[in-house]
């Protein structure tokens, strides 16, 4: 993301300038708390309406809507469309949903960028949503098979034969898996192995978690989290604050037990994101359109890269791979960047990876290491550990936070990175 005032523009000849007009999100809440009765499209609608209100954008001015989500509610598999209809946006406006694990919202944003760049649309809302308070729990495969065959059974005796085949084991429900389908390993487990591979100590992780919560608390108290909307939850009142920020002491953090690899793992509840509900949205336009409509765009969206790696041993290392690539694409260096917003999923391992010549040469096929990422420019308003991580929505939060920080801190370039299941990453610049 590049702010408009410029020492050096990253605009490319022949490519349309695409701008971010505004970004918002619902408060991110611990799953099973206030959003308990909301379905995913309810949250998505709240973010969408909030964005329209904040920008006073007429409902008929939107050309297209893209949302990202991870665990899909089967009834609303195109959650973008359901949210749009619920928000009173014309039924003539198309919407689609994308999924790419934890970078689903980033994928939604880059999809929007593509639509604008290709001249298909001028005004696109992109966002993401996730609720872990409710998720589709299915009958077992065997039970589903029986039930589907039952549909086709014509006579009573056929039905009875089928029913008689049901065994107690058929009734075991199937939970949506948080494991990698290809490796059958949970993300936490993989992350713990990753921290061990990079020699990230328990102490370092605790300190980083402490930092994240403290910075988030400070930002919240100072009113810096201006992207957070106030949402009225029927019967439960208005929420306007994230409720997962828990600044505590290092002593308390040290007492926590590892959650994934027991008993000798290093990742604890504090150094991993809690299950979160929330939605986010950003308004993207072509620069001419934004100016024509009288908006003052907050930032340009310049470059992005998606990369992918081995889903077993390098699951969460996307940012390390993508950072140098996107910088080279834009022709700037790590030092030029003023604001870093990285998803806090195994960020420490990524920092160590980027600072290692061995890793650069052996795994990334580069001549030398990417470099030391200046931690004083990183996630200064908290991150996924403290604010929460609704899988599908985090990407848009990162982008909005980066833009708002650029404005506040007076920087020029921002870099956003996140890692995702399946080992991919996105980068906006």
């Amino acid at each position: 993301l590049v702010q408009t005032k410029s020492k050096k523009t990253l605009a490319k000849p022949g490519v349309k300038n695409i701008v971010l007009v505004e970004g918002v999100r619902t408060p991110f809440l611990l799953s099973g708390t206030i959003y308990n009765d909301f379905m995913a499209h309810d949250l998505a609608r709240a973010a969408l309406l909030g964005l329209l209100n904040k920008t006073s954008l007429p409902k008929d001015a939107v050309d297209y809507i893209v949302y990202g989500t991870v665990i899909q509610e089967v009834k609303t598999s195109n959650v973008a469309r359901e949210a749009a209809l619920g928000a009173g946006i014309s039924e003539k406006i198309p919407a689609h949903t994308v999924t790419m694990a934890c970078i689903s919202a980033n994928q939604a944003i880059t999809t929007a960028v593509g639509l604008i760049a290709a001249g298909q649309c001028d005004v696109v809302v992109a966002g993401g949503v996730e609720t872990m308070s409710d998720m589709p729990i299915r009958h077992s495969r065997k039970m589903r098979k029986t039930m589907l065959t039952l549909n086709k059974a014509k006579t009573l005796s056929q039905r009875l034969t089928l029913l008689s085949k049901i065994r107690l084991g058929y009734l075991t429900p199937e939970l949506p898996a948080l494991t990698e389908f290809s490796t059958n390993e949970t993300m936490g487990h993989s992350a713990d192995r990753l921290t061990a591979a990079f020699g990230v100590s328990r102490r370092e992780q605790d300190e980083f978690a402490f930092r994240s919560h403290s910075l988030a608390k400070k930002a919240q108290d100072a009113g810096l989290l201006s992207d957070v909307l106030s949402v009225n939850v029927p019967g439960k009142g208005i929420v306007s604050k994230d409720n997962g920020i828990r600044p505590s002491s290092m002593e308390q953090l040290e007492k926590l037990k590892p959650v994934f690899i027991k008993p000798h793992g290093t990742i604890t509840p504090a150094s991993s994101s809690f299950l979160t509900d929330g939605a986010s949205a950003v308004l993207l336009m072509s620069e001419e359109k934004a100016l024509a409509m009288g908006y003052k765009p907050k930032a340009y969206l310049r470059d992005f890269v998606f990369v992918s790696q081995d889903p077993k041993d390098q699951l969460l290392l996307g940012p390390s791979y993508a950072t140098p690539e996107v910088l080279e694409k834009s022709g700037i260096t790590l030092d030029d960047i003023d604001v870093f917003e990285f998803h806090e999923g195994q960020i420490l391992a990524n920092l160590k990876a980027m600072d290692s010549d061995w890793f650069a040469q052996t795994c990334m096929g580069r001549k030398s290491k990417v470099g030391v990422l200046p931690i004083e420019k990183l996630n200064l308003w908290g991150g996924s550990l403290s604010l929460g991580h609704p899988f599908g929505a985090t990407g848009a939060r990162l982008v909005t936070a980066a833009v708002n920080r650029l404005k506040k801190e007076g920087g020029q370039y921002a870099l956003v990175a996140a890692c995702a299941a399946g080992g991919q990453v996105v980068f906006d610049l």
């Binding site: 990753l194 061990a196 990079f198 020699g199 690899i261 000798h264 041993d313 390098q314 052996t362």
Partner: protein
């Protein structure tokens, strides 16, 4: 076309004991199918400095590292044991050390077992017993260590290595695929002789201990944890700031040091809380009557499986029993004495010889080929073709499986899929690995893509004109460097190569059915086959995990040629009125993994008839036996063996019992011969079959088909099921006595003529008893 030997998996190995106790179903796995255990080591003399064991003290934990400087694996050799004792004494004397971590510096190997040369160098049972007792003493000291010792295991932890780990107070293992625990001694005709028979039952319970020791199978880390063999598991790490293997071992050490400290400050308990099932089992094992029943059941099973031909399993039971019933002192004594006795048995020597032969046959003595085979085409998607595809496609080789009809092709592809899917069910690979592997297999009906193929293996119908036809078709579409390998079981390779424009690229690759289970590959070279072609074929075979013998061309090469006279004799015995069931009993009690008649049914009566005719044509009356009309009549009636459901026996799906096929009996009656009483005792029946086999094997060496006796033994045991405890036909002649065998053959020769004429080589050995195939 299906090959000469097709055993069902279950019957391959007689030495494996399957233990079904309290519902624990343990799969039978042929022991030949598994990897190496003990490695040869050059003998080392005492040296002043320490080269095998080193240690450093981290905080108050002594980290002892094992690293044999001269080998890829660690073995418990004499210098290793001496240095270990020194280091332990230093550590125990150091008051600042509160605990110990024992770890290997070798990637992929903790300790692979005892040094087999050390045992082979002993001349008497007493010497071996003394070795065992030294080991016992050392591990006793470890067990009684005043400070806790944590064994940190990554890679193979086998035999003496496992016994060492068992003596430690705590065990941590990585979940790496290379990490396997086990006591493979039984496969070498030995027993765990350094306390294994005493500690295992206490640690994992009687039934599991018997299972581990009697099968000798490799146990993966997660299973070992479930059994109670190890306390904690550590995940292998991916590449980070260092190489994955290096970092994993470092991490294992860090975690083990953490546990060692934890044990000292009592935050880590040494004993696991037992579940209800465990408590119940312990209670049951406390009842002498229950234990007696277990001994009885296990002994019965061992006898069933081994026919009493293998002494080691019985000795293992004795040792365990002595320890539990008479106290540990008696147990340890029994263990060391039995270990000494076993090491001197011919069975153990034969099995060790086979092991060493197997190691030798896993090397490519023809050097590295100029070009690696990256794209392989297989012609014919039958049992053999698909089997070859299955063992190749998961080794990073792209495989084209070509057939002439969609039905055949689809059946073949299904066979490969089923093979990998079975591995998914056993959890040895993931469904994703199955899918990515399968994506390297292309099924097709035409020759498209053959321009990229480095080697073609044909497994089409066993008919010379068809072989010529495909050879010409293939040479027209493949690049000049492409090798043409034929998977024939009997046709001479030079006859097939006669149609080739590039005979230097033609070679025989004789696989055995089922390809994924049978370990042998017989490679056949003609005078024209180039050395590079041979090197390439061996390299591919090794990649496929095969044990390889390389033989010269000739009718039936080596394996088919040995089997053929035995089958001819079998037919004659049947005509002479010996019941099939009795023949099977006599042959299995001699040590064959399956009865000879069942073997004939498995091979296919039609195949046997075809091979019989070809061989008699090539070698004349010497290879005659029973009347070939018997089998041709059977083939006419459709009794082609197991595949048709009817041969000498009737095979019904889902039924395990086999009944005699009365119609086949009728045919045999029609061709009935009278049995000469002088050569028809049970023992004569056995030796008539075996002597023809053995004589033919020796003849192959005499004629230069075989390049050495060792390959002959390996081929007979791994390809044809020659009794492993006899070590193969050549070792059998050494042990049994060539003169005794010649005497027996003379007796048969008087009745049947030249079929029993001992070959020159055998006669030479009979005349001079100092002549041996193995020194």
């Amino acid at each position: 076309m299906d090959k000469i030997v097709s055993y069902r998996h279950k019957s391959i190995s007689p030495i494996i004991i399957c233990l079904h106790y309290s519902g624990s179903l343990n799969r039978i796995k042929p022991w030949f199918l598994r990897g190496c255990l003990l490695k040869l080591l050059p003998f080392f003399f005492l040296e002043a400095f320490r080269s095998h064991v080193s240690y450093e003290v981290k905080d108050d934990v002594a980290v002892i590292r094992i690293n044999n400087p001269d080998s890829k694996v660690n073995t418990l050799s004499i210098p290793m044991q001496r240095e270990m004792a020194e280091v332990m004494n230093e550590v125990w004397a150091n008051g600042a050390v509160k605990s110990v971590v024992l770890i290997s510096s070798k990637p992929g190997c903790f300790i692979a077992g005892a040094d087999i040369n050390m045992i082979q160098a002993c001349r008497s049972a007493e010497e071996v017993t003394a070795l065992s007792q030294e080991g016992q003493k050392m591990f006793e000291k470890i067990e009684k260590s005043p400070i806790p010792i944590v064994a940190a295991i990554n890679g193979s932890c086998l035999g003496g290595g496992l016994e060492f780990a068992l003596a430690c107070q705590y065990r941590v293992a990585t979940k790496s695929r290379k990490t396997v625990l086990g006591t493979p001694e039984v496969m070498l005709g030995l027993l765990p002789g350094a306390g294994g028979t005493q500690r295992l039952p206490k640690m994992v319970g009687l039934p599991s201990a018997f299972d581990v020791m009697l099968t000798g199978r490799n146990i993966r880390a997660d299973k070992a944890k479930k059994m109670g063999l190890v306390h904690q598991l550590v995940d292998p790490l991916g590449p980070g700031l260092k190489d994955s293997d290096v970092r994993t071992v470092e991490y294992l050490e860090e975690v083990a040091v953490g546990f060692a400290k934890g044990i000292v400050n009592k935050s880590i308990p040494l004993t696991k809380r037992k579940g209800i099932m465990q408590k119940l089992q312990d209670y049951a094992m406390g009842i002498p009557f229950v234990r007696q029943q277990i001994y009885k059941t296990v002994t019965k099973r061992v006898m069933n499986q081994t026919k009493g031909l293998y002494p080691a399993p019985l000795k293992i039971i004795e040792c365990v029993k002595a320890g539990l019933e008479k106290g540990s002192e008696a147990g340890y004594l029994e263990e060391s004495q039995n270990f000494g006795k076993l090491a001197m048995t011919p069975e153990s020597k034969a099995l060790v010889g086979l092991y060493q032969g197997q190691v030798a046959c896993k090397k490519n003595r023809f050097g590295t080929p100029e070009r690696e085979v990256k794209n392989l085409a297989i012609l014919g998607a039958g049992l053999m073709g698909a089997g070859i595809a299955q063992v190749t496609v998961d080794k990073g080789v792209n495989v084209i499986l070509k057939d002439t009809a969609t039905e055949g092709l689809s059946r073949g592809q299904d066979q490969v899929y089923k093979g990998f899917n079975a591995k998914v069910k056993k959890k040895s690979i993931t469904s994703f690995e199955r899918d990515t592997t399968m994506s390297c297999l292309t099924g097709q009906l035409d020759y498209s893509g053959f321009e990229r193929v480095d080697m073609v293996i044909e497994a089409v119908f066993e008919d010379l004109s068809i072989k010529h036809k495909v050879l010409k078709e293939v040479e027209a579409v493949t690049p000049p460097h492409c090798i043409f390998a034929t998977n024939t079981s009997g046709l001479p390779i030079k006859d097939i190569a006669a149609a080739s424009k590039r005979p230097e690229n033609v070679i025989g690759m004789h696989y055995f059915s089922p390809v994924d289970k049978m370990q042998l590959l017989e490679i056949i070279t003609t005078d024209k086959t180039s050395k590079d072609t041979t090197a390439s074929a061996v390299a591919l075979g090794l990649k496929q995990g095969k044990i390889i013998i390389v033989v010269k061309d000739g009718p039936g090469f080596y394996t088919t040629r040995c089997l053929s006279p035995m089958l001819a004799e079998l037919l004659r015995l049947l005509q002479e009125g010996v019941e099939p069931k009795k023949l099977d009993l006599l042959t299995t009690s001699f040590g064959l993994p399956v009865g000879a008649v069942i073997l004939a049914d498995e091979v296919g009566i039609d195949v046997a008839a075809h091979v019989g005719k070809t061989m008699t044509k090539a070698f004349g009356s010497r290879l005659d036996g029973g009347n070939i009309e018997v089998v041709t009549t059977m083939v006419e009636k459709g009794f082609t063996g197991r595949k048709a459901g009817k041969g000498f026996y009737i095979y019904e799906k889902g039924s395990k019992s086999r009944n005699i096929n009365p119609a086949a009996e009728e045919i045999l009656k029609k061709f009935k011969l009278s049995a000469p009483p002088s050569v028809s005792s049970d023992s004569d029946v056995q030796y008539r079959l075996v002597s023809r086999f053995v004589n033919e094997a020796l003849l192959c060496l005499q004629e230069g088909i075989l390049s050495n006796p060792m390959e002959g033994d390996i081929g007979a045991v791994f390809g044809l099921g020659f009794p492993p405890f006899l070590g193969g036909p050549f070792r059998f002649v050494d042990a049994f006595g060539a003169d005794k065998l010649v005497q027996k053959m003379k007796k048969y020769e008087e009745v049947y003529g030249n079929q029993f004429t001992a070959c020159q080589l055998l006669q030479d050995h009979a005349k001079d008893s100092s002549k041996k195939f193995y020194k």
